[in-house]
Symmetry: C2
């Protein structure tokens, strides 16, 4: 069985400029090439397209993630190829992979099997340099903070109250908790600090939610980097950092265009964490794809409780997007895991485990239907080991929920393997469009809460409605912060809850569909530039570590430049 | 008077693929575009060209640097344009600028006035991502070191003896001296650490001295990251880091092609520090340019005591390069500074200051003639304020030295302003070629010392012959290290002396042409991958800081994406 990278390297790619020009009806000059198979669409072209009508937006989400993975990115690519396969002009929008996990455990993140975006090595390594630019803009602000303090601290920043950390695109646990500016007066004022991974940077979230260079610069200026001794916020604008940061990010804001193995077009752009950020590709990529294609398939990070919720309550809210339907990805193996199967005990994954595990799928489907009013299609990534009676159980469950259930084999068969899924999606889109009275509606999706609700109530809404928590407990400090921000003019922000992706609760061991649990809000962070408030529940790692045998040890390049060891 | 960036932005650029294809007679497919005006030449094409005959190599160097600057990069670009202007097919080879200084004091570093390489904003910001790749490869190795220790430390690295620091492409003094891995056992073993700027990374030096991907990987594997408790070196190869590092650097090794304001072609590739590294653009760029052009103009960092010495004793030695002549850049203002003029006291810069300051020029000319056997051409960057009698003094001095002295006005006039300089250079090249009996010799330049001399003697040779030091003093620890490395198989390496660029001595206040000073070797570093031994003399900063008002505050981008505030 060939690996993903072997399949990708065996593919014959088309030059991206003529391909995009022909398929999307745009001038080659509006594209800036990065090698022959990657390009950025110019922001001028993005602007020019803004008057056009939108295509149908399809969100790919999933049941709660499990260790073996469900194949959400693979389904997103496969469905895009499948829609093109049945004659629907379709674009795909994905996140850019982070380098950290690539050298750690995960390997590549550009789909899999015969449903991949290519060139996969480039996409998984430096790609078009967006993450490097984001890391550098972030760290420029950090350097300007310490430099400002060193040279007199006119803004009276309190070194104990600096909230802006540094970032690196690497899994490096040694940088989580550090002290900086040691070594004497020439090196500045010593203080505690730390590095997060680039995808956790607020700059990443800002790039992914900005609609133009002007919007980007405004948001960068609004970043709160810390507080004075009297707890007044100090912003990047006061440090005069916003202009240089925006200059560094000018190209990173333009969406990246690549192709699938079947020569269909995909934007792969931006990649914020799905826990402490909103976990979707850039708004600018999604908005632009909707102008260029009749159908746009995109994905959101983790399961629907995190990814779909943030996609709708943060990204769609900000960008006026209305998805036509949601595809919920599951596998038999993952459902059994939610039903208590122990991966190490083969006997434990019988029919009862599947029956119990379907509770997780049922909960996600109900959430999307009830709270967002979206049609759902369940897509099962088919494995050879799956039994017919197992499929029948899942189908019965879906029939009870009144949602279509489709088997998909794009991993093995490419777009043809997702043709049934594509047809089900087209039916849902057409029904949505008919209901909303236009071929593609521009009203935003139904959100879970209104802008005007207090921040604490927004957190409670997500916890009780989506997570089905019985109670939400804030620490006294967290409550005080919420009140401060509410009074300080940030009360209209949406909330972004950072919790484990493995459970509806904040306890990763509670699989299935737990109810009545208590959500403890441990810590809050104000993202004044990204314009949301992060509520951290449980242990959330913003700087991963490498495993005992990191995949970096396996990655190699031969004398002819051919890379191996990326999965 | 328009600024450099205004001149650069007013220029009408040609698309780099057809331009390069036409001017260099190469296939467009051997170039990988980065936008429309930057490209990388493929390593396959580099390989294919290797059989061709070399053109003439011209080194641009300078008197000892002074605060106002002498215009060495500007002269390199202007001379390249000037040679093309008089009908000689010429390429230029430059270093890539570092982002750190760009946000600090220096502003852009892509030439100036009408002698610039463009697109200057791109070249000064992310360019083709080489420095990002180098920083990331460096930091991957750092992460793998701490990860190895965390997971059992099978190689028995001594946490007190780790020599591999981390890097960032930013002037950030707070990161010079830090402690990492605080916060408990989950974050690793706490230890002292620090960040250098990317240009100071050994990986930068390695990329700039490698001749192929295989050579790159070999050198990366040889990097010594630290020592065991019994002082045995531990290498990147033992950590299995070399493959992944090489994979990250695969594209960074391919030379970047851009154009001058006059549409002539330049490689801008690599940028190692000129103090703790050798300070020249990549060997691969210079070697390839020599295959593609009849004349190649390149520069070396700082003054001739550092830049030219390392260019010949490290880069030419490794790469078998033989320069045909050297151009020594000076200005009246800089010469007066070396004669004791005080920039703040206008009365102090009279004819006596110039007469005294010429000692610096005389010393550099003599060094290049005597020790390297190279013809020298003195090039004076002309300012409006320069007086005719001042020019006459410089000319008299050059006549005594038997070297041509040419006034150049490329800053104001572009290539036409360097036509006289170009003609003088052509005469020197033709004379060199006639002497060596072929149109372009392939024998390496005369070096200052032989590979077989002991490391300590090599340091003494540079100090006494080039710096004219009376004595070299090693600390006992430094002497012991030299003996250790001599015994450990590194004795054949050349040496790379890190000292202030402002004086022939290690004391930056000793201007002019000091003699008989003592060179104190404070610290030694083994660059087993780059294959040289660094001798640090005096205070050398491997992580600069930002000034009180950094240029970052001035840099901006407007809503249409136009960048301002880069000089």
């Amino acid at each position: 069985m060939p690996t993903d990278i072997e399949i990708a390297q065996a593919a014959s790619l088309q030059k991206i400029l003529p391909l995009a020009s022909r398929r999307l009806d745009i001038q080659e000059d509006s594209l800036s090439p990065f090698g022959h198979y990657k390009a950025k669409l110019s922001l001028e072209e993005v602007q020019r397209l803004s008057g056009r009508k939108d295509g149908h937006l399809i969100l790919v989400t999933a049941i709660s993630p499990t260790p073996p993975g469900e194949g959400k990115t693979t389904t997103t690519v496969g469905l895009g190829d499948g829609l093109n396969h049945i004659g629907k002009q379709t674009m795909i929008c994905l996140r850019e992979p982070s380098l950290g996990p690539c050298f750690g455990m995960k390997g590549g993140a550009a789909g899999g099997g015969h449903a991949q975006v290519v060139p996969m090595e480039d996409i998984n390594l430096h790609f078009t340099g967006d993450f490097h630019a984001i890391g550098l803009a972030h760290n420029l602000l950090a350097a300007l903070i310490d430099n400002h303090i060193h040279h007199g601290n006119a803004l009276r920043l309190d070194v104990r109250r600096i909230t802006w950390r540094r970032v690196i695109d690497m899994n490096d646990r040694a940088l989580r908790d550090i002290t900086v500016a040691l070594g004497g007066p020439g090196n500045g004022y010593p203080r505690q600090d730390g590095f997060d991974i680039v995808v956790a940077s607020e700059v990443m979230a800002i790039v992914c939610l900005s609609t133009s260079l002007a919007d980007l610069k405004r948001r960068l200026g609004n970043i709160v980097v810390g507080y004075t001794a009297t707890k007044q916020p100090v912003t990047a604008r006061e440090l005069k950092a916003d202009g240089a940061m925006a200059a560094l990010l000018k190209d990173a804001l333009a969406p990246n265009l690549v192709q699938t193995l079947e020569g269909n077009l995909a934007f792969v752009h931006g990649g914020p964490f799905a826990n402490i950020a909103h976990g979707c590709n850039s708004l600018i990529a999604t908005q632009t794809a909707l102008k260029l294609a009749d159908y746009v398939v995109t994905e959101a990070g983790f399961g629907a409780d995190l990814g779909a919720e943030k996609f709708i309550d943060i990204k769609c809210r900000k960008g006026g997007l209305k998805p036509a339907c949601a595809v919920l990805v599951a596998t038999v193996r993952a459902l059994k895991y939610h039903g208590g199967a122990d991966a190490k005990k083969p006997g434990s994954d019988g029919p009862q485990a599947l029956a119990d595990g379907l509770a997780n799928l049922r909960r996600h489907v109900e959430n999307i239907q009830r709270h967002y009013g979206l049609p759902v299609i369940v897509s099962i990534n088919r494995f050879d080991s799956d039994l017919i009676e197992e499929m029948a159980m899942i189908e019965r469950c879906c029939t009870e929920l009144d949602v279509p259930c489709v088997l998909a084999t794009h991993w093995a068969d490419g777009g043809a393997g997702a043709a049934d899924l594509a047809r089900a999606v087209v039916r849902a889109c057409e029904r949505s469009a008919a209901l909303s009275g236009s071929s593609a509606s521009s009203a935003p999706a139904a959100a879970l809460y209104a802008d005007a609700e207090p921040l604490a109530d927004k957190i409670r809404a997500v916890a009780t409605k989506i997570y089905r928590a019985g109670d939400v407990v804030f620490t006294p400090k967290a409550l005080a912060q919420l009140q401060e921000w509410q009074a300080g003019g940030y009360g209209h922000f949406p909330v972004c809850i950072a919790k484990t992706q493995y459970s509806f609760s904040a306890d990763p061991t509670l699989r299935g569909a737990p109810v009545g649990h208590t959500l403890h809000v441990r810590e809050l962070r104000l993202n004044a530039g990204a314009e949301f408030v992060v509520a951290i529940c449980g242990d959330i790692m913003t700087m991963p570590g490498l495993p005992k045998v990191p995949s970096a040890e396996r990655i190699d390049v031969d004398d002819a430049g051919r890379i191996s060891g990326l999965f």
